[in-house]
Amino acid sequence: MKSLLWILLLVLNVAAAASLSAPTLDMLVADVLSGDDGPRQARARQLLPIRGPDAAWKMLPLLDDPSPAVSFTAMRILEDVIHETGFRGGMEEQARVANAVFALVVPSASDRQKEAGLRLLPYVASEAHPLDVLAALLREEAWREPARACLEHVHTRNALGALCQGLGAADDPFKMALLRSIATFEPGGEAAGLMPLLETGSPAVQAAALRALARTGDPALTPHARRICAGVSPESAFDAWDGWLRLADAMAARGGCWEPAMRTYREILETAPHTLIQGGAIAGLGRYGDAAGVPVIAQVLAREGGAVLEPAAMEAFRSLAGREARLALAALYPEAGTTMKVALLGLFGDQYAPEYAGLLAEGAHHEDAGIRSAARGALERTASPEAVEVFRAILEEAYVQGQEWNPELEDALGQLRSLARKLRQAGDGNGAGRAWLVVYRSAREDTVRREALDGIRANPVPEAFDVVLDLLAAGDLDSLPVDAMVGIAQNAIASGRAEEGRNLMAEIMVKLTTTDAVNAAVGVMRGRGPNPGFARAIGAVTRWHFVGPFPWNISEGFSPVFIGEPDISLDGAYTVGEKALHWQAAESADAGGLFDLFGVIGTVEQSVAFAYARIETAEGGPAKILAGSDDGLRVWVNGAVVLENDVDRGYALDQDSADVTLQAGVNTLLAQITQRAGGWAFGLRLTRPDGAPFPFTLVP
């Protein structure tokens, strides 16, 4: 009984497997032939393309099927096979599919097959495929046009050869069509074969032959081109002139024939009756030419009706490069009409160079509103500091002349703001700062003024000095941040306005009563190099005696005693392992009074060091200790702990503070700085309770 069940199961499995096996090629072809059976055709469309060359060959006869559903499906499957084998197939499979497609265009093939073959050949034909079969089709009235189009798309050297072969038996209209196809190929050895057509063909064929040969860029064709264009019929005139223009382009592009090419452009420009061709010659003079083309183009524009070529001329002018070309364009400007002037100003703005500065400035003041507007718009785009001066003059002039504020001035102000932003983006901080300064002075609205102040803050130029003085005089210190004021003052000093700069710094220093303000000022000063004088001016203790490192464990906090602190002697020596540690003096050149203890003590971890200083004050009294450290910090003043912070942190100015009372005369400061891992740093300053620096001297 058990064995019977096993046999039954086996039979059922086999039956199920048979019912799920892949359909055969013939089954799928039958699906295609089923015509209007949607699901079966869909299956065939999906599965036949991956059957490769065999499926392709099976589709060939189906193309002739009287049912459109069958022939249409066969064509789609053929396309998909080509795609699939092209994408996934090997060389052999691809070759077999190509052979199938070539079989569609043999003489014995049906019309439908030929039609399909000519459409599909460009996808399978390679450089190696001989194309005589297509060359033969070029001689058949009914097939020559699709065969020509096919060869043009195949675009191999053999295709070019077949097209040239076709010329022999072709009538004039088809010769012209063939020559147009030939013109789409890279030049090859066929050129010599086409040369006779330049002289023996009808004018239209000569024109087409010229166009086909033009791509060789052979200057020897020039006399032919001249003759053909002179004798051309109205119908083929454009072909002829286009051929000559293409010849000039090819001569210019291949190099070594620059002069003949330029001469050809000039000759075409003078003689071609079509503005399109003239425009092409102008474009060539721009793309390949030099400054000598500028007056030539200008002469053409000055001719009656020449204005229509202005767009082409402007494109050409934009293509020209080099100082010589810029000078030629600048020389052209005064003689140009208003429309051209406006266009040129646009070019001057987009391709700004010093040669254009004067013309743009002049244009910005021009009596013609259109020119004025174009020049100012161009100046805005230049991102040049010279443009700032032009806008400054415009806005100041309006102010001096007492002009009513008007939309044009509003536009000028807007353009200047845009210019300032562009200068900043271009990395010209000075130019941007100057621009924002002019904006600040000319602004009519608070929002604009605030934007300008932001700009001045980001780009503090010496010229902004007066603005700062104005703000200080007005007590308006919130308008301009400390770092901007310090930057302006320092720039003023650097630019020769030393006394004014120092006075401004003096004014600023008394305002440095908060950590934020001091921090901002220190940031600017650090950017200008070492400055211990500034550190002293903000109350930093810039000279300490240090000793360390002493091994220390994080868990110990401030409990261990290392050097008998707080009672210490600078003459003391401490033994750590086999090493004797002594106090050593160190000074900070940093603008914020910062000490890098890696430099002073050494690069260690899990250690502490001590810093000791003596200061002398004239009066004593209430004061603040402001200190920053990396990592923890304990501070004694005159032997008493005033600050203690066992912490893991990086250094910042004034991280900890403590109120203390200093005595008149000498006071001692002792600091213990812990080092866990990473950086190790320390800085301390003394202020009065209101934040102003506490005056003291360092005792050696």
């Binding site: 020897a220 190099g255 070594g256 024939c257 001469r263 003078e270």
Partner: protein
Amino acid sequence: MSRIMLCSVFFCTVALSDPAVLQFEKSRIGTATFEAASIFDVNNDGVKDLFSGGFWYPGPDFKTAHKVAEIRYEDTYYDDFSNIPVDVNGDGLLDIATGGWWGLTFQWRENPGGTGEWATHNVAEVGNIERTCACDFDNDGHEDFIPVVNPVQVFKLVRDETGKGTGKFQQYTLTAGNGGHGFGCGDVNGDGRNDILLAGGWLEAPEDPYKLDAWQWHAEFDLGSASLPILVYDVNKDGMNDLIYGAAHDYGLWWLEQSRGEEGKRTWTRHDIEKDRSQFHDLQLVDLDNDGALELVTGKRYYGHNGHDPGANEPLGLYYYKIENGTFTRFTIDYGPADKASGAGIYFWVDDVDGNGWKDILAPGKEGLYLFLNKGFAAP
């Protein structure tokens, strides 16, 4: 009909008004970007070959590149600022005399006679060499070699009794004069001797050029950062040699007219040839159009200072100038951006490489090595 006739009249006008112009067939040789090149028969097979820096290309098709040597490369420069063919060791094969800025050394590379690599021989360390120039220092009919440094160093190939090179050079130093960027060699004062031109003046050759302290310095002009070479040529046919020189690292190409002022004192007057094109580092006088008169051939040295020279990023060009009555008329051979056009490099060469009777140009440079085959006059 009337339009056609009008056109025909105009064509004649155009054709007649423009002077004849040479046409060239341009081709890129290899992919290398050395700045020096020359044309000579490298392998003695009777066919001229192309040589540039670290490779040579056998003629007549120049399709194959044979490695010469690994050339030191520093900061976009190959340490190889000249390729002067000369049989240094007398083995019948032309070797190469060279030198460069970075290596500080006048060298020659030995032609192995096959396709193997060439050995480089250091002759002497002389300092940063702007270019090595060939000049018949002692008027003996053999070119001597001057790697341009300050002061002037002359290297004379020691030859045996048959005139063959021995592989050795004799070095001479001229301490007079104030060198700089620029060097030339020619008869300035019409005494038949080759004088030496420097940017700040000229050294007058004595009767015996080996009396080194007898060379007399005339600080008569200041040519700035001048080309190598400064050409000595009677531009205006007045019987006195003038100078032609370019700004090697700036805008300008000029000729300096030699005249006599009061009491016969020599004076120099500068005339512009080009004002707004830049970096004319190498110049040659050659009869390019076979009319019996010399033309000035020159072009831009692309990125001579890595883009820092005035006009560095402006179009490149290769030109020849017809010289008539002191007037230079430019004919452009090639012109355009660096990815399409060719300049002249620091050491270009002119020779009829294809034997068609017209001299061709081999133009090296950082933009690539280009051969311009001269095809004679273009159809009008």
